[in-house]
Symmetry: C2
Subunit: 103 residues, 2 copies
């Protein structure tokens, strides 16, 4: 689903990753993180797709919301596990959405 | 491949789409657009994945580069065709990358 975000400005966290071959626990954790993110104050939506690389873009009201989500304890645990087991490499970009349009 | 972008600030164009069932010409055009984007001044990289939805994030030096790419004639033609045939819905978000990090 394309995220139904409000009028800009708001923030996007672009998470691009390449997975390892370790699958154990990954799917459940990924699902749980989306579920948990949705419950955070300032969360606006999320979009995700994976082929050769995975791209997950989550949308947030402001930098404060992103910071709070980063420090969520369950999320912190998942990130540690991600660095150790699930991701060969990743990049996180924090960006301010200035304009959007669509069809 | 994860895009090798320079130190922020730079810009991201987040293009999220849902395809129709019309395939004719789509793959070639998508490939050609990436090839063409890479040749534009200010282009910094691109990342793409599609499952239920497609996400393509292209990175650009500044808003000027994005505007020039938008007005490229071959790209304009492809966008028209996209609106007419290939995309059921899409959203384009233009965002200023303020921070990035990775592993």
């Amino acid at each position: 689903m394309i995220a139904q975000t409000p009028e800009p400005p708001y923030y996007a966290v672009i998470f691009t990753s390449i997975r390892t071959s370790i699958d154990q626990g990954y799917e459940e954790m990924a699902k749980r993180m989306v579920e948990l993110a949705c419950q955070q104050p300032g969360f606006l939506g999320v979009e995700s797709a994976r082929e050769e690389i995975g791209i997950t873009v989550s949308y947030w009201k402001d930098l404060e919301s992103i910071k709070n989500w980063k420090h969520n304890s369950e999320h912190s645990f998942a990130r540690k596990k991600g660095r150790k087991d699930w991701y060969k490499s990743f990049r996180i970009r924090i960006a301010k959405v200035e304009k959007d349009y669509g069809m």
